[in-house]
């Protein structure tokens, strides 16, 4: 745990230097967005990676956090800093609600995945219908630059904010890895029936995981709303966010502390490489991105983190597997 904690501190310290060392605003923005998707990936990782409950609808939590923050600010004049924890709580509650319904009736595997996907879609349709979300027109957060309004004049403020969220997510995951709750969660992932036989309250464990996961994704939603100052149902609850949230840990390494971080940087790096390779030919970069993604999943079933760990173990241990 001590080494992992040191690694987290070292990573955060290195990242904190990025705004000062990287002159290019484009690359600073790139790192910032990679951190943003790492946060969503880490949220998914708690439920999917450690808990083995694959969600296809993390947009439900992200969108709830985003809308909660925006609605409180736009309609009720609540300061975004105060709205931020409310957004996390609202998304956590949505997670608890979906979890209660799904786990109460024993939904697992692809059934659970489909239910989460359906909930995200229901929320998207709801956001398209109810006036408080601005319906299809969306919600525009008034432009009022100032750190007090969580609208930073340049991206450095946004950078440190997302870095803080990622730090929080990493520490939370580190605690999870070494806590009794984390052990129960992993036991549920490995074999639910065996875990139950050992006295683990499977329902409560999974419910706590989806609540925690939802709350983290909700913080990401609130951050997105303050960064782009505009939300519509497609952005908030559309499938793009759900896909990004699950791709990042799958590529990086599910059920690992640094997997989502690695996955996010790798995926966005590949995306940039593809753009550099095919630059102005519309769509070719996305095709290359897709091919690379398939290759990564095919040849690195344990993700980048798993591959790195195996390779390191082989190098250090003379061929023994990790």
């Amino acid at each position: 745990m001590r080494r992992q904690l040191l690694a987290i501190v070292a990573f955060l310290a290195a990242m904190a230097l990025v705004p000062h060392l990287v002159g290019s605003e484009f690359w600073r923005n790139w790192v910032m967005m990679a951190l943003f998707y790492a946060l969503l990936g880490q949220a998914w990782n708690i439920l999917g990676g450690y808990g083995g409950q694959f969600s296809f609808g993390h947009a439900a939590f992200f969108g709830t956090g985003a809308y909660c923050s925006a609605i409180l600010h736009v309609h009720y004049g609540v300061n975004p800093w105060i709205a931020l924890p409310a957004a996390g709580m609202a998304a956590g509650l949505v997670g608890a609600f979906i979890g209660f319904l799904s786990f109460r009736y024993g939904l697992r595997g692809s059934y659970f995945a489909l239910v989460t996907l359906a909930f995200a879609e229901v929320l998207r349709i709801l956001a398209n219908t109810v006036p408080i979300t601005g319906k299809g027109v969306g919600l525009l957060i008034p432009l009022d630059p100032g750190a007090a309004n969580m609208q930073f004049a340049d991206r450095t403020g946004y950078f440190y904010l997302i870095l803080a969220f990622v730090g929080l997510a990493l520490l939370l995951t580190l605690w999870l890895e070494h806590s009794r709750f984390g052990a129960r969660l992993v036991a549920v992932r490995e074999n639910e029936d065996a875990a139950r036989a050992l006295g683990v309250d499977v329902f409560r464990t999974k419910l706590a995981a989806i609540t925690l996961s939802g709350a983290l994704a909700g913080l990401g939603g609130s951050y997105y709303a303050q960064l782009f100052l505009y939300l519509d149902p497609g952005i908030a609850y559309g499938p793009a966010i759900s896909v990004e949230a699950l791709l990042v840990p799958i590529v990086g390494g599910m059920g690992t502390l640094f997997g989502p971080l690695l996955g996010s940087f790798a995926l966005h790096g590949v995306s940039e490489l593809a753009k550099l390779a095919f630059g102005e030919a519309a769509g070719l970069d996305l095709a290359l991105y897709g091919v690379l993604l398939v290759l990564m999943v095919m040849f690195m079933p344990n993700g980048l983190f798993g591959m790195g760990r195996t390779t390191l173990a082989r190098l250090l241990g003379g061929g023994r597997d990790a």
């Binding site: 290019s24 605003e25 484009f26 923005n29 790139w30 967005m33 398209n128 319906k135 299809g136 027109v137 969306g138 525009l140 008034p142 432009l143 004049a153 340049d154 991206r155 997105y224 782009f228 100052l229 505009y230 519509d232 149902p233 497609g234 952005i235 793009a240 630059g279 102005e280 519309a282 769509g283 970069d285 996305l286």
Partner: protein, 412 residues
């Protein structure tokens, strides 16, 4: 326009000549001045959703901007800058606001003087804000949602009309068409896509149409994409409205009108507002029967303008369609070129200032000279078109009209 400005701006004649042939164009544009003192290129960000659900519109928009850049460069570039060429820096917003904003960062790094794009309102809200941070002039090509220009961003200029203006004009013209035919239509059904522009349009129509003598029977929204319109059309068949008002993107509009034709549902009029395909040559060519007599209130060029006619031929010769995305972007780039001529520099602040004081009259849209107030071109207005015998005719306003409206729609 003063004599000095007239000399500096790219003339209509020069533009026509360029479209006709580079040799003739080079003669008109003052080729020797380029040789004398040509400076480095002026980088221009061309940002559109060329992949994702809006790819068709995005690619059309990019093609229009690129054709304008080619022509401007052929006829001598920006003459006040020693014939500096426009150098496009292309960006793909992938139909996502956050990707659009990231592309603005890339364009900032590339040193663009201005950005043209990004077609969709949701993307425009993000990209204009990102560009404002770097003080980059952002000419919004379509992005009709009113909030695009009401947030006090000094860098944002919309050449075309906003949603409120479009819907108001559409209602006025609908009332005029109905009154002119003896008021045969009283009931309306609205079918709109569910994002910002379709929903915003439906909201305004619901507020205003009842006061103008129309009863709205039902308003139906649909997702993007939607591939099956049978249930919606069955509802229309059951309710038998006099007028159906669709407002959606290209694919959905085509599928909706085809389903209407297949199910032989013929109201007195299909009156689109920003109908994705209603004013599209491609739709008319591919589905002439479904397109026949559809009216649309949309962006459209002045059909009498020779530059527009030349461009249309050039576009069709390339195998492309002369759609509003294409010609609006073409003219947005020309608007920018005219501002660069007056600014005499690619400096971002100077470009913003030049655009803010723009009186560009040489374009082929039926707007009159540009005059920006809070970033909105005051003269910008939509027109009404109708498909008549495989041709898109302009039916309103009368001063630009090429045909009279056919209303009510004749029985099949």
């Amino acid at each position: 326009m003063s004599e000095v400005k007239r000399k500096k701006s790219i003339s209509r004649r020069a533009f026509v000549a360029a479209a006709g042939g580079a040799a003739l164009a080079s003669g008109i544009s003052g080729f020797p001045s380029i040789v004398r003192a040509q400076r480095g290129p002026v980088r221009v960000g061309i940002l559109h959703p060329v992949t994702g659900p809006l790819a068709f519109s995005g690619n059309q928009a990019r093609a229009g901007a690129m054709m304008a850049i080619e022509t401007i460069n052929e006829i001598g570039g920006i003459r006040s800058m020693g014939g500096a060429k426009l150098e496009p820096v292309l960006g793909d917003a992938q139909s996502k606001p956050d990707v659009g904003a990231a592309e603005v960062e890339r364009m900032n790094e590339a040193g663009v003087s201005a950005i043209v794009g990004p077609f969709a309102s949701g993307i425009a809200l993000a990209t204009t804000q990102a560009a404002a941070k770097h003080n980059i002039a952002h000419i919004v090509d379509v992005g009709v949602v009113d909030q695009v220009v009401t947030r006090g961003l000094a860098n944002t200029f919309r050449f075309g009309p906003g949603l409120s203006k479009i819907v108001d004009t559409a209602i006025e013209n609908l009332v005029a068409i109905n009154d002119g035919a003896g008021k045969p239509a009283r009931t309306v059904m609205i079918v709109h896509e569910e994002s910002a522009f379709g929903t915003g349009m439906a909201k305004v129509l619901n507020e205003k149409l009842p006061g103008r003598g129309f009863q709205i029977i039902e308003t139906i929204s649909h997702a993007n994409p939607t591939r099956d319109f049978n249930n919606i059309v069955l509802k229309i068949r059951a309710q038998r409205p006099d007028i159906v008002i669709p407002s959606n993107y290209y694919d959905e509009f085509v599928l909706f009108s085809r389903t209407m034709a297949q199910q032989k549902v013929r109201p007195k009029a299909i009156y689109a507002i920003l109908g994705g395909a209603a004013s599209s040559q491609r739709f008319v060519k591919e589905f002439p029967d479904a397109a026949q007599y559809i009216m649309d209130c949309n962006h459209w060029y002045d059909p009498r303008n020779p530059v527009a006619q030349e461009l249309k031929k050039k576009v069709e010769a390339k195998g492309l369609y002369f759609t509003y995305e294409l010609f609006l972007n073409h003219e947005c780039v020309r608007l920018l070129a005219e501002a660069l001529e007056r600014a005499g520099t690619g400096d971002r602040a100077a470009v913003i200032q030049a655009l803010a004081s723009s009186g560009f009259a040489n374009h082929f849209m039926p707007y009159g000279p540009t005059r920006f107030v809070n970033g909105q071109n005051q003269g910008a207005a939509p027109v009404n078109t109708q498909v008549q015998n495989r041709e898109i005719q302009l039916i309103f306003p009368k001063e630009f009209a090429s045909a009279k409206p056919v209303f009510p729609m004749p029985a099949a």
